[in-house]
């Protein structure tokens, strides 16, 4: 079993239109490096100076990695990683 990585609409140009791709690695950093190897150009859209871009949120099993160790957050087979742009949300 691999790691499922869900790709937001705006970044599917890098994944041939795929909504979800398989990833691997022991940390989010390794996972993103593997993504870059498979889908060249995507890393630069996610990271800036070695950090997640300001308006990019990355979740491992629904938890925002900014609060779980950042790009060093551990990932393992069977995990789901979701990448989403920051939005204002809904019923406010």
């Amino acid at each position: 079993m691999a790691i499922e990585v869900r790709i937001p609409t705006i970044l599917r140009t890098y994944t041939g239109g795929e909504r979800a791709v398989e990833g691997s690695g022991a940390t989010v950093t390794e996972l993103i490096d593997k993504l870059e190897a498979d889908h060249a150009g995507i890393k630069d859209r996610l990271l800036d100076n070695g950090e997640a871009r300001r308006f990019v949120n990355i979740y491992v099993n629904d938890e925002d990695i900014r609060f779980t160790g950042g790009l060093d957050t551990a990932v393992a087979d069977g995990d789901t990683v979701v990448i989403l742009p920051a939005v204002a949300g809904g019923a406010r």
Binding site: F55, T68, A88, R92
Partner: protein
């Protein structure tokens, strides 16, 4: 309890235990029933706080028009307070919100300017900022950046909870304007710093995230990441599942966003059980389910409910 007027009765909501949903006798869940505010949501606190602050600072003169980007509860709360204090209200609202919200806003006398569904609240904020520029005499209270929004929870919600439950270990609330979490988070940081602050962020269908460039995202000006300790993203399926569980087990009829918050609270509770810690976890019931009946969230299978909520701003 007696009050001089309806707006004087905002806040002071009950905190109730959830004996059936609490996973163990040592890990307990508590619900702060914000649906029991005058217009039925937690936003009464922020709306009243922002209007009183603007009056006090002289930004809001008698009869001035108030403008606000809002897809629902804040608009309804502002409409009620504004009607009581003599201000016309204009709400900029995404067109893909539930019909009940439009009906309620109209009932309290607000005028609605629709913003395009694609882009969700980001778009409503953008449209409102443009309209504000075109109408310099209108007053935009701007819930996403108005410190009075967070202060309402610093002064009300959080101290009420700490008084009722001094043993609180976790506070869980929804992340939208971020006002609840920023205000309550700051209060607990100052008064009981070992309380962990947990955010539940709704995850919508793809339409809502739009096709915009990743550099054009939106983070509310109020947001300060140091006020929270963890942040869960919750999709509509889990939110609906939990909101149904809440009514089935504890009899509490809440809105869909509360289901998302409960999901994060239960995830936190499971972590505490696993770690062998005792915990008193308070989560916010933001509003009742009445405004969301037409979304179909409360009937049929989870698959059906999930399909119906796709593309809607359900929280």
């Amino acid at each position: 309890m007696r009050f001089d007027s309806l707006i004087d009765s905002v806040g002071g909501t009950p905190l109730v235990g959830l004996p059936a949903l609490s996973p163990t006798p040592d890990v307990r869940l508590w619900a702060k029933l914000e649906d029991q505010n005058p217009t039925g949501s937690i936003k009464d606190r922020a709306a009243l706080g922002m209007i009183l602050r603007a009056e006090k600072e002289g930004l809001l003169q008698p009869g001035a028009t108030i403008l606000e980007p809002t897809s629902g509860n804040t608009g309804i709360s502002l409409a009620m307070v504004a009607s009581q204090r003599g201000y016309p209200l204009v709400c900029v609202m995404p067109e893909n919100t539930s019909i009940e919200r439009t009906q309620l806003l109209s009932m309290w006398g607000a005028r609605i300017i629709p913003s395009p569904a694609a882009g969700g609240s980001n778009e409503a904020v953008r449209v409102a900022k443009r309209i504000a520029g075109e109408n310099p005499d209108w007053v935009m209270l701007y819930q996403y950046g108005n410190p009075a929004n967070a202060d309402a929870h610093y002064e009300g919600t959080a101290p009420e909870i700490l008084a009722d439950l001094p043993e609180i270990t976790h506070f869980v609330a929804g992340l939208g304007t971020t006002g609840t979490l920023m205000g309550a988070g700051r209060y607990f940081r100052e008064h009981k710093p070992d309380v962990r602050i947990v955010a539940a962020e709704p995850r919508y269908g793809e339409l809502v995230y739009g096709l915009r460039n990743l550099d054009e995202g939106f983070i509310p000006e109020l947001y300060d990441a140091s006020m929270i300790d963890s942040r869960f993203s919750v999709g509509p399926r889990d939110a609906v599942r939990r909101v149904r569980e809440l009514i089935a087990t504890e009899g509490i009829f809440a809105g869909i966003s509360t289901g998302a918050i409960l999901h994060a609270a239960l995830a936190q509770a499971a972590k505490c059980v696993k770690a062998g810690e005792s915990a008193d976890i308070v989560f916010v019931v933001c509003d009742g389910g009445w405004k969301y009946l037409s979304t179909g969230a409360y009937e049929g299978t989870l698959d059906e409910a999930e399909d119906r909520l796709d593309g809607q701003l359900w929280a």
